[in-house]
């Protein structure tokens, strides 16, 4: 049986029935950041607390990546199988704007301000069968 592993430790709760992105919030100035950091980017304080970020937000801006990136891009795709992908910043209320891949890559279906959910799905499958899981932003149905 294959394992399902997160793309990086500490990016989101895993394993979890309902995973969530993990940010850090400064105990001194209240600023949040993603991924969780050991100090605050705004004031430099090392007193930060890790918290789960909201699972729904609005698209602050976006683009579509039309060409296949060079290494360290690692999706398991080849130049022949590469498919353009959407990228955007999702504004999470009370938190931060988090950058991520979108599940939608059709520019006609993307607009600033649309509601999106943070979802978790298989990103690539390793040669040994392990599934690498990442986070994505998906338009609210």
């Amino acid at each position: 049986m294959s394992n399902r592993l997160p793309i990086a430790e500490g990016l989101f709760t895993w394993p979890a029935k309902k995973p969530a992105l993990l940010g850090s919030r400064c105990d001194r100035c209240g600023i949040a950041s993603f991924p969780a950091a050991q100090s605050c980017m705004a004031c430099g304080s090392q007193e930060v607390t890790v918290e789960e970020l909201p699972s729904r937000g609005t698209l602050w801006t976006w683009t579509v990546q039309q060409f296949m990136p060079k290494s360290p891009y690692n999706s398991g795709e080849t130049p022949e199988t590469f498919r353009p992908y959407g990228v955007g910043y999702l504004e999470l209320p009370g938190g931060v704007r988090v950058e991520g891949r979108l599940t939608e890559s059709d520019p006609r279906k993307l607009r600033v301000g649309m509601a999106m959910d943070v979802v978790f799905d298989t990103w690539r499958t390793e040669p040994n069968g392990d599934e690498i899981v990442s986070f994505f932003f998906q338009p609210v149905a």
Binding site: I7, A8, L11, G23, I31, S33, F34, P35, M41, A42, C43, W60, T61, W62, T63, V64, Q65, Q66, F67, P69, K70, S71, P72, Y73, N74, S75, Y85, V87, G88, Y89, E91, G95, V96, R97, V98, E99, G100, R101, P107, V112, W123, S134
Partner: protein, 380 residues
């Protein structure tokens, strides 16, 4: 102690398979020395850098080993600006009277690829395909168009102007005008930006000879004075490249900070500037940088660009040598290219692309990862 630029040299930008990046730097340095009417042994100190073409102090192997302090500078897109600012301080402090600043580079084809570890980021960020500068530029202009009503046609107009100006510049890489419809209809790279709206990594070299202002006339009939050279990095809250998250409350970016400081140091304002070089890694950057540098309000670019104000002969000529779009971006040389162009313009020696009306003041601006900006103001 004011500082003057008394010699300038450039190796043509583009692709020169026969010369290494270092040799292109040496070519530029020899031209700058000749322009100042001096020899390499007259130079008391040097600052220089390249991102992909080796240590600048290896120029000593090409020009002769004279024992001077030569400091290698590595500061991304602001490498040239950092060298210039530091050289300026060396002269102002009284430590030296005359020095050389050089920048050169030679990059592989295709988009720059960055390693997340070098920027304090996890490998996951690169694996997912987020570590890409062109995405950032596209997302920044996408939001800006939404907020301030800039049209896609205006983005195409910026590139159209760049290639027209490039066609007038013998040192430019891309010297053939491209029709605005062909720019707008070209293959999309990162929506809303097409292939012709992005600059590409390229090659080239630029060198400048600087000296104490009170000795400038001794060397040069038309010295150009460096009224300000400012470098700033990002503050918390500015929207920057290579950022897995951004603050909810946005702050002004490093360009705004560098611009304000440069105008204050020079004692002039945006309306006083006669010729402007702005970082145009892509069309949208030039649009946004017009306002971030104080040359217009946000949103006014639409009318200014559509009416031709930013062309040579317009009320605010921008990127008169074709900018990054027509010259490509050899990182170490790119910022100094802008200074070279303004010195030519202020001397009245820019030939077919000369800005009319005896320009007195020139402005240069660079922006780069991960949120740095360098600005200079030159006066003749």
């Amino acid at each position: 102690m004011d500082v003057a630029i008394i010699g300038i040299g450039m190796h043509p930008f583009g692709r020169t398979p026969a010369r290494s990046g270092l040799q292109q730097g040496a070519y530029a340095a020899r031209l700058a020395l000749k322009d100042a009417g001096i020899e390499w042994r007259d130079i008391e100190f040097a600052f220089g850098g390249s991102a992909s073409a080796g240590n600048a102090d290896a120029l000593g192997n090409e020009l002769g080993l004279t024992g001077i302090p030569f400091i290698n500078v590595a500061n991304g897109c602001a490498t040239g600006g950092s060298s210039l600012m530091t050289a300026c301080s060396a002269i102002r402090s009284g430590a030296h009277d005359i020095g050389l600043v050089a920048g050169f580079d030679k990059h592989d084809r295709g988009a720059f690829n960055a390693d997340p570890g070098d920027w304090g980021l996890g490998q996951w960020y690169g694996e997912l395909g987020l570590m890409i500068t062109t995405q950032f530029f596209a997302m920044k202009i996408q939001r800006y168009m939404h907020d301030y009503g800039i049209s896609e046609n205006t983005l195409a107009r910026v590139a159209e102007k760049a290639f027209i100006n490039g066609s007038l510049n013998p040192n430019a890489w891309r010297r053939t005008p491209v029709a605005v419809e062909d720019i707008a209809g070209a293959i999309m790279v990162n929506n809303p930006l097409t292939k012709y709206m992005f600059c590409s990594p390229s090659e080239g070299g630029v060198a400048l000879v600087l000296c104490r202002a009170d000795k400038a006339k001794h060397y040069c009939a038309k010295p150009v004075y460096l009224k300000s050279a400012v470098l700033k990095s990002r503050r918390y809250g500015s929207f920057e490249v290579f950022a897995p998250s951004q603050a909810l409350q946005q702050a002004e970016g490093p360009t705004v900070d560098a611009s304000r400081a440069a105008f204050e140091m020079a004692g002039v304002g945006p309306r006083d500037i006669d010729v402007i070089q702005l970082q145009d890694t892509e069309s949208g950057a030039e649009v946004m940088h017009m306002a971030e540098n104080g040359f217009c309000e946000h949103g006014e670019q639409e009318q200014l660009i559509q009416s031709g104000a930013t062309r040579i002969g317009g009320s605010m000529p921008i990127n008169t040598d074709g900018g990054c779009l027509a010259n490509g971006e050899p990182i170490g040389a790119s910022g100094l290219r802008q200074v070279y162009e303004n010195v030519l313009q202020l001397r009245g020696e820019a030939g077919a692309r000369q800005v009319p009306g005896n320009p007195q003041l020139g402005y240069t601006h660079v922006y780069g990862a991960p949120g740095i900006s360098a600005v200079t103001i030159l006066q003749r």
